[in-house]
């Protein structure tokens, strides 16, 4: 009966609102839940004028807090009596003067929303806090009727929900489809041949588990996981703004890749980046991690005020941390209290105070503004030590020589020697100092003076060349911007309208305590803040982080607004599941363990096949009655193309590289000041994470990526003709097609060759009709190429990849064109 009623309701709702039927269906008849059902309506229609923002508040009425909304004097909401509540009366009023929200706001709740409010009041107007600010709760794993497809407790949450709606999980995708999906998700690369072979060993059990473990252990894992982190951290290789000077933050990037690879627990990973410098006896690595905070843009424009820049940087650090760990949008609070979330302007500046107490001064000029950390490689350290030794030895040798050359009493200098009496005054002046204290100019003068004395000049030259070599090594050591704490705390103020020169009230250093208590044991600095973010009672961090990792795999978060867990953000689609995951995650903050559980889950293993019925009922796949599917990010497309064509180099880390880019793009954007000097050889084929990121003009080979100007934790995924042009025509992709064709050219049976191409790109055999289409296309292409043989030669020369001698250019180029087509298949562009 219930089942039937639900089905009818379902069909109706599917027509009414195709996207949100799931949440709506559950409302029918059951008790309303404040956070899920009521608060969003209040937020949408009331908080603008009756919310946390004191300045915008009208009629002295607040509806965001129970004590105000349920006030006894002049009551607005009378629990248990909707008909007698002014709120309902005003919302349904036909009188323009009385109706709320006022007609001028052009906002109207739907009849269903009004009905929800009515029922909620009639049911007693039970209040509750905003869901995301409530403690993380753990419920027992739901009981399901059919657990055959469940592979992990998390699946039970999804299956239970689907069963309630008379639906079920889809059957698993084929093993190879899952393998491609999981390899792309965990390493950003298609599965390697050995992995595939191992996976297909029929006699070995737990093929999936073994594959997941191998992928998680691959160094490519860190290179894949770091991408979203670089977007969030607004990492770039230049400062931004006019001039856009280069900076050296790549050692921090390499640190982050390494941290993912060795599975540094996420709490440590975070605490180091926020406050590694403040840890007791902090290590080099912990200091380097704080580069995270310093990835902000730096404004070197003439006429800029340093103090204004400094405030910008502090705000950027604060807002980045707010979005990354708390999932809250703080920037509105620069100028006024938050309209929707219970965050005041005061709390914003109190929070910013944690990031204010550092020595970054806001001045332009040096692109690596202090404080900085030397991030030398072991080789550089060895070289520098060696040269230091050489320099000391050379100085000692000179001093010894001069002792004999200029005999003198103890305590006297060479200048006092009778042997120096005839020398020019300038030279005697220099000789007053021992060899170790002479600068380069002085050494040169001495060399001139004593040119006739070969021994003396040789000794002088030895010092000079050792010194120069040492300086050269020293200069080549990258200096990375990091955080330091000022010994004397800065004062903190609310800034009127966020203006640096309009300080208003003085404020202290504090967190918004309604989220979680701040332990008195913690210091009032970034380290304390970091501890607070990972405190046991902190409700946001674990939810926010788990949700982002989830969305990395499933294409969308359990909370769709991965960037906003505030009142205006989306509700979680599966709240109990989110809490269960968050709860489990924060027992050890082990990211690899989390990723492993997710990729091995039944939900993730499902086939992504969509039926018209599924599409109509749940077009966005929020219920996960099918597997995730979507176009992969542009950087992953590039890495995939390099990998399948065999061009990819696996060298890790180091300074950024400059792969193919059409001419003139940097020049146009930078007054002609920045020339793009494309690299050659191996550098063309490094993973995308190593591509030089110029902040004001991002690499043109990427699209739909974060701007790397401010923190981005959610990328758009659009589908435009410009993307098609790129993957069809860019040298990167055409060259990959060429290398792919070449690497299979020893297969003379065209069907076998196609099979090889499909195995490499899609990890499956081609269907007979696909073979027919491709072979027919190859014949037509060959006919066209033979009409214009010069075309064939031109296509064979795209990119720097060198293939061996080509016996049949026409045949070779038709295969290149086919490979270009295959690399643009919807299935190749998507994670299926």
């Amino acid at each position: 009966m219930l089942q039937r009623r639900l089905m009818v309701g379902l069909a109706l709702l599917a027509v009414l609102s195709s996207g949100r039927f799931a949440a709506a269906a559950e409302e029918g008849g059951s008790e309303l839940r404040f956070a899920r059902d009521v608060q969003p309506i209040l937020s949408e229609f009331c908080f603008q004028c009756h919310g946390p923002d004191a300045k915008a508040r009208e009629g002295n009425l607040r509806l965001d807090r129970a004590e105000d909304a349920l006030r006894r004097d002049d009551p607005v909401i009378v629990p248990g009596n909707a008909a007698g509540s002014a709120l309902i009366e005003r919302v349904v009023s036909q009188d323009d003067e009385r109706r709320m929200p006022p007609p001028s706001s052009k906002r109207r709740p739907t009849p269903a929303q009004i009905e929800t409010l009515r029922r909620w009041i009639d049911q007693g107007a039970r209040w509750g806090g905003h869901w995301a600010f409530e403690p993380i709760g753990v419920s027992g794993t739901p009981v399901v009727n059919d657990s055959r497809l469940a592979r992990h407790p998390l699946d039970h949450y999804l299956i239970a929900r689907l069963e309630q709606h008379g639906s079920r999980m889809a059957d698993p995708a084929s093993g190879s489809a899952w393998l491609r999906r999981v390899a792309l998700d965990l390493t950003g690369l298609p599965p390697e041949y050995e992995l595939l072979v191992d996976f297909q060993q029929p006699e070995l059990p737990d093929a999936g588990e073994r594959a997941a473990d191998r992928l998680l252990a691959s160094p490519a894992y860190g290179e894949r996981m770091v991408w979203e982190w670089l977007d969030a951290a607004r990492y770039a290789d230049s400062n931004g703004y006019q001039g856009d000077a280069e900076r050296t933050m790549w050692p921090w990037r390499d640190w982050a890749i390494g941290a993912f690879n060795r599975d540094l627990p996420f709490d440590q990973f975070s605490i180091w980046q926020l406050a590694g410098d403040l840890l007791p006896e902090s290590t080099h690595e912990q200091k380097l991690a704080t580069g995270f905070c310093r990835n902000h843009m730096i404004n070197g424009e003439g006429g800029r005020i340093a103090a204004e820049n400094r405030v910008d940087y502090v705000m950027d650090m604060t807002e980045t941390a707010g979005t990354v760990w708390l999932g809250l949008t703080l920037n509105c609070c620069r100028c006024h209290d938050h309209k929707f979330d219970p965050l005041s302007q005061r709390e914003y500046y109190q929070l910013a105070a944690f990031f204010n107490n550092q020595p970054v001064d806001g001045g332009g000029g040096d692109p690596q503004t202090r404080p900085v950390l030397e991030a030398a490689s072991p080789e550089q350290l060895r070289q520098r030590d060696e040269l230091d030794g050489r320099l000391t030895a050379a100085r000692q040798a000179l001093d010894k020589f001069e002792q004999q050359r200029f005999p003198r009493e103890d305590g006297q200098t060479a200048a006092d020697s009778a042997a120096a009496a005839e020398l020019p005054a300038e030279i005697r002046e220099i000789l007053k100092n021992a060899g170790s204290q002479r600068n380069r100019g002085q050494l040169e003068k001495l060399e001139k003076q004593f040119a006739a004395d070969n021994t003396h000049t040789a000794l002088l030259q030895a010092i000079r060349s050792a010194g120069e070599a040492r300086d050269a090594v020293s200069r080549s050591i990258p200096r990375v911007m990091i955080m330091e704490e000022l010994p004397d705390p800065r004062e903190n103020f609310i800034l009127y309208k966020g203006l640096y020169d309009k300080p208003a009230e003085k404020v202290g250093i504090r967190v918004p305590e309604q989220l979680a208590r701040y332990d008195a044991e913690w210091p009032s600095n970034r380290l304390g803040l970091a501890r607070w973010l990972f405190a046991a009672e902190q409700p946001l961090t674990a939810r926010v982080i788990v949700n982002r990792f989830w969305s990395q795999l499933f294409g969308a978060g359990i909370v769709k607004t991965t960037e906003d867990f505030g009142v205006q953000g989306d509700r979680p689609e599966h709240p109990e599941l989110l809490d269960r995951l968050a709860h489990d995650f924060r027992t050890d903050w082990d990211v690899k363990r989390l990723m492993r559980a997710l990729v091995l889950s039944g939900a993730y293993r499902q086939s992504s096949r969509a039926t018209p019925e599924l599409l109509e009922r749940d077009p966005e796949n929020r219920m996960l009655a099918r597997g995730p599917r979507g176009r992969m990010p542009s950087w992953m497309l590039r890495d995939q193309a390099l990998a399948v064509s065999g061009l990819l180099t696996r060298r890790m880390g180091g300074p950024p590289v400059r792969p193919y880019q059409p001419n003139g793009i940097w020049e146009e954007a930078t007054f002609g000041n920045k020339r793009y000097e494309q690299d050659h050889g191996e550098s063309l084929y490094r993973r995308s994470a190593y591509t030089f990121w110029r902040r004001i003009i991002a690499p043109s080979v990427f699209f739909d990526s974060g701007s790397r100007q401010t923190c981005t934790v959610k990328q758009a995924r659009t589908n435009t003709p410009l993307h098609a042009l790129l993957t069809l025509n860019d040298t990167t992709y055409v060259e990959a097609a060429r290398a792919l064709a070449w690497s299979t050219s020893d297969l003379h049976d065209p069907r076998e060759r196609l099979r090889q191409l499909f195995l490499r790109t899609l990890i499956r055999d081609p269907r007979p009709e696909e073979i027919d289409i491709l072979l027919a296309a190859r014949d037509r292409l060959a006919r066209q190429f033979s009409a214009e043989p010069a075309s064939a030669d031109a296509l064979l020369a795209v990119g720097e990849f060198k293939n061996g001698p080509v016996a049949d250019p026409i045949g070779a180029t038709s295969w290149i064109a086919l490979c270009n087509t295959i690399l643009n298949l919807d299935e190749v562009l998507c994670k299926e």
Partner: protein, 488 residues
């Protein structure tokens, strides 16, 4: 021989592909159309997997259906072009009144600067009697189409933040630009061309960088596409060398057939959309070079604009702007570098320097206005011409002793003009004080300008919003008032 067979074969394949494509679309598009209708406000355009640039109607009847924005990067000296201040001329060379400069910051001027009356000759033009200087003689002839606002102001006095404020409503990077908002709101009328095109002359990008024509947090499909005069007019629009159009067609046909199989197998409407986008890309590869090819214009037209094929000149770009809007492009943004008249070199002087620079601008602009009028496009094409701020009524500090006259950046009061769609031509709006230091009447902030442009396009600027990180963002932030008196 092979070649003669091809066309019919291509036609057959194309037909087949299209049939498969449409067949696949039935379910997908139906479902999507429904979800779009049901949640017109809630669904961001990114999730409308049908063409996000399909034309849409605004909030109310628009006065303008497309925009050409002429940006003179660096900011032209408005006091030598549009805002005639005889009192300033009279007091030329005297110290600027302390009350006007005290406590203010200027980019390159400190201390007490000297007042600078214009060295240009001014006269009133057209029936409306619009004041224009002798630096822009060609604009005299179209004076009755112009509405000059002489009471503009902004808060930013450095190029990049001022430009960002003008185009994105915020001096910091990260927000969508005016053109992105426009195409987000209206879509575009020619699906074979980008909806928002950017043309840059004098070889230098705008100060605000790509952010001045970026999509910010809007989906990237709404960002300005720079059409370049060198290399590919649109990035990657050339087929790879060795791959001609017929080869490309052949491989695309195979691609579509394979994708259609995939679409059937997995049943995702996204696959059908992808086929459509690849088709669009193929057509764009032809239509973009075509529309960018000004040799297709008559010699007379080229002469009117002063355009010379092959150059990245402002004249060429004005002509291209006309060609683009004629083809249904929604928003065309021009940036022309070289208007930063500090007086640090002869090219930046208010006498000969300005004459020379204006000669590259006023003729093509006048030609553009006349051309659009002749083609019946001016009445619903809005043209705006401005810098990012104004220039001081006094001499720039660094060049005060030089014999080249220059002015510093000035945000407090400046001028710009609009013409075409819904604009009251032959008028002036607002006034500066006697010396041009501040607005005397009818202040217009850049947010007000934005509100007015959106109003002319049929939008209530407070309702053209996009939900991002928990907040409804709009171009005008929390500000902006429509300047109704300039609307015809």
């Amino acid at each position: 021989m092979a070649k003669t067979q091809l066309p019919s074969e291509i036609a057959r394949l194309r037909q087949q592909t299209r049939r498969t494509f449409l067949g696949d679309c039935q379910v997908g598009l139906g479902a999507l159309a429904l979800s779009t209708l049901m949640s017109a406000d809630a669904t961001p355009a990114a999730e409308r997997t049908t063409n996000p640039l399909q034309p849409r109607e605004p909030h109310f009847q628009p006065r303008a259906r497309r925009v050409i924005y002429l940006h003179l990067t660096g900011s032209p000296p408005h006091l030598d072009l549009y805002d005639y201040k005889p009192e300033l001329v009279r007091l030329n060379g005297q110290d600027a009144p302390r009350s006007f400069v005290e406590g203010k910051r200027f980019a390159f001027t400190t201390g007490t600067p000297k007042l600078l009356g214009t060295p240009r000759q001014f006269a009133q033009h057209g029936q409306g009697g619009v004041w224009l200087s002798d630096a822009i003689p060609h604009l005299h002839g179209v004076a009755d189409d112009l509405c000059v606002i002489r009471s503009m102001f902004t808060e930013q006095f450095n190029h990049a933040p001022a430009e960002l404020l003008l185009y994105t409503g915020s001096p910091r990077s990260g927000r969508p630009s005016l053109g992105a908002w426009t195409t987000y709101g209206l879509g575009s009328e020619n699906e074979n061309l980008p909806g928002f095109v950017v043309l840059i002359s004098s070889g230098v990008q705008p100060n605000g960088g790509k952010n001045s024509f970026g999509s910010g947090f809007l989906p990237s499909v709404f960002q300005g596409v720079q059409c370049r005069s060198k290399g590919d007019p649109v990035l990657y629009s050339s087929d790879p060398s060795g791959m001609d159009r017929e080869l490309r067609r052949l491989s695309l046909d195979a691609l579509h057939e394979l994708n259609a199989i995939q679409g059937k197998e997995l049943g995702h409407p996204e696959t059908a959309t992808r086929i459509a986008q690849y088709e669009l890309a193929f057509r764009m590869q032809t239509s973009v070079p075509e529309v960018m090819d000004i040799t297709r214009e008559s010699q007379q037209v080229l002469d009117d604009y002063g355009a010379q094929p092959g150059q990245a000149s402002f004249a060429n770009n004005c002509l291209l702007a006309r060609r683009l809007v004629e083809q249904g492009v929604r928003y065309v943004q021009l940036f022309d570098w070289g208007w930063d008249f500090h007086g640090t070199g002869p090219g930046e002087g208010l006498t000969d320097g300005l004459t020379k620079k204006c000669a590259t601008m006023d003729k093509p602009v006048a030609a553009l206005i006349n051309d659009l009028k002749q083609r019946g496009l001016l009445h619903d094409t809005l043209i705006v011409c401005s810098g990012e701020f104004g220039r001081t009524p006094f001499r720039e500090g660094r060049t005060a002793a030089s014999n080249i006259l220059g002015r510093d950046h000035f945000p407090d009061c400046y001028s710009l003009w609009l013409a075409g769609g819904g604009i009251k031509g032959g008028t002036m709006y607002g006034e500066s004080d006697e010396l041009g230091f501040s607005v005397a009447r009818d202040k217009v902030h850049v947010h007000d300008l934005q509100a007015t442009i959106l109003h002319l396009l049929g939008f209530d600027h407070t309702r053209l919003v996009y939900r991002f990180q928990g907040r409804d963002y709009r171009l005008t932030d929390v500000h902006g008032n429509v300047v109704h008196p300039i609307v015809a």
